[in-house]
């Protein structure tokens, strides 16, 4: 029985394509798909038509198993649509509605048609519902996947952006830390700093934590490890950017950083220059001395 039902469904889709697409588009636009202006009517129409044609081809091959190769083109199309919906900023509901809103027009078409016996109608409708549900869920999966890819890409970009080692002077490096120091990022930070110490033969590394919102025991432990590793490589560390509230909190926590620390990066830089026997002087000489 299912064999013929599917083939007949395919024929129905072919016969009534125009009216189904028309009704589907109406349902979609009442659902607000076109209102936001993120997608235009001709584009939506093309998507609807190609989806119906894909579905028809798949059904004509006597298959209602969405995992079968017959459904590969339809699924590819849905994946593309989900991806573009995710990028265009459609909500998950709006994206899923693309497939789910086909149910009504399709069921209407089945009712209008005389291809099915009255006593088989419920079975046919049930099959259509199952099929569209599976495809709708597939759409959601794809939508979710593309959103996650966006998030993963952003995470990578952030972790790359936020760990630069800056050369302040010959032998003086600065590491401005920004954001949360979770273990994964701390690892990257530590490697970057140690590598730069070797490359530049640095004697002093300033770790600036102005941009770290919370210093708890784990953050402190990461800092201490970085300082210890730098010391083993012959570089002294100065920790700067310890704000008053952070200082008080650290005292209450019982944390001690056995390292020179300064309130601002400028202070730390001054200490570094002093250690290197250098000083910053004004270019303008005093006019009274010239006279």
């Amino acid at each position: 029985m299912p064999r013929s039902t599917l083939a007949v469904l395919a024929q129905l889709l072919a016969d009534q394509e125009a009216s189904i697409v028309k009704e589907w588009l109406e349902t979609l636009s009442t659902g607000g798909q076109l209102q936001s202006g993120r997608i235009r009517e001709p584009e939506l129409r093309t998507q609807c038509t190609s989806f119906l044609q894909g579905l028809r081809t798949a059904l004509a091959q006597d298959s209602n198993d969405t995992a079968a190769p017959a459904f590969a083109p339809v699924k590819q199309l849905l994946a593309d649509i989900s991806k573009s919906r995710a990028i265009q900023g459609f909500s998950p509901t709006e994206t899923a509605m693309f497939v789910f809103s086909l149910k009504q027009p399709l069921v209407n078409a089945i009712n209008r048609s005389e291809l099915f016996a009255a006593n088989s109608l419920a079975g046919v409708v049930w099959q259509v519902t199952l099929l569209l549900d599976t495809l709708g869920l597939y759409t959601m999966d794809e939508y979710q996947k593309s959103r996650e890819q966006v998030i993963i890409r952003q995470q990578r970009e952030i972790s790359e952006l936020s760990t630069p080692v800056v050369k302040l002077w010959d032998g003086v490096l600065a590491l401005p830390l920004i954001g949360t120091l979770d273990s994964e990022r701390t690892q990257v930070v530590m490697e970057n700093l140690l590598q730069s110490i070797v490359e530049q033969g640095a004697e002093i590394a300033i770790i600036d934590i102005t941009g770290v919102p919370t210093v708890d025991t784990l953050t402190a432990q990461h800092l201490l490890k970085t300082v210890a590793a730098a010391r083993l490589m012959g570089a002294d560390c100065i920790v700067s950017g310890i704000r008053p509230q952070i200082a008080q909190t650290m005292v209450h926590l019982g944390l001690e950083l056995n390292v020179v620390s300064k309130a601002t990066l400028a202070d730390a830089f001054a200490v570094a220059l002093k250690r290197l026997n250098r000083t910053v002087v004004s270019l303008k000489t005093d006019p009274r001395q010239q006279a």
């Binding site: 979770d182 708890d216 025991t217 784990l218 509230q245 019982g254 944390l255």
Partner: protein
């Protein structure tokens, strides 16, 4: 004065710890806590959330804003269903840890808050309540 209803957040991954910190800071700002008090409660929350995750095997935190006749503050309750703490006074000693941390988190959190209560049953999980008043 309207207070935000209590909020229960999951602690399952280290990203959740970051989110808990952000939410606690938001509550602390709403309660009118000063910058130092904000930092203290956020840091204590960070320690306890990480304990919940690392030693309790994950759990939840309930954030509530408290208002005692105009005296406002933030109360946090961390709960897990982990193995529990066999010796609480020992766990509260500075430098004692069963993991590889500094052993300052639990005792530090106690010093950072105005109220601190810990209940733990072997095999029955751990519940830590802290509060910071304005």
């Amino acid at each position: 004065m309207s207070t935000t209803p209590p909020d229960t957040l999951p602690i399952r991954t280290s990203d959740d710890v970051v989110f808990v910190r952000q939410q606690v800071r938001l509550r602390a700002v709403q309660a009118g806590l000063g910058l130092v008090d904000q930092t203290k409660i956020v840091t204590a929350a960070s320690e306890l959330a990480r304990n919940t995750l690392d030693y309790g095997g994950g759990g939840t935190v309930t954030l509530s804003s408290i208002d005692d006749n105009g005296r406002r503050g933030v109360r946090l309750v961390f709960e897990d269903q982990g193995p529990g703490i066999p010796d609480i006074p020992l766990a509260l000693q500075d430098g004692y840890t069963t993991g590889n941390g500094l052993g300052l988190g639990l005792s530090g959190a106690k010093r950072l808050s105005n109220e601190f209560r810990i209940e733990s049953a072997l095999g029955g999980g751990t519940r830590v309540m802290i509060a910071r008043w304005k």
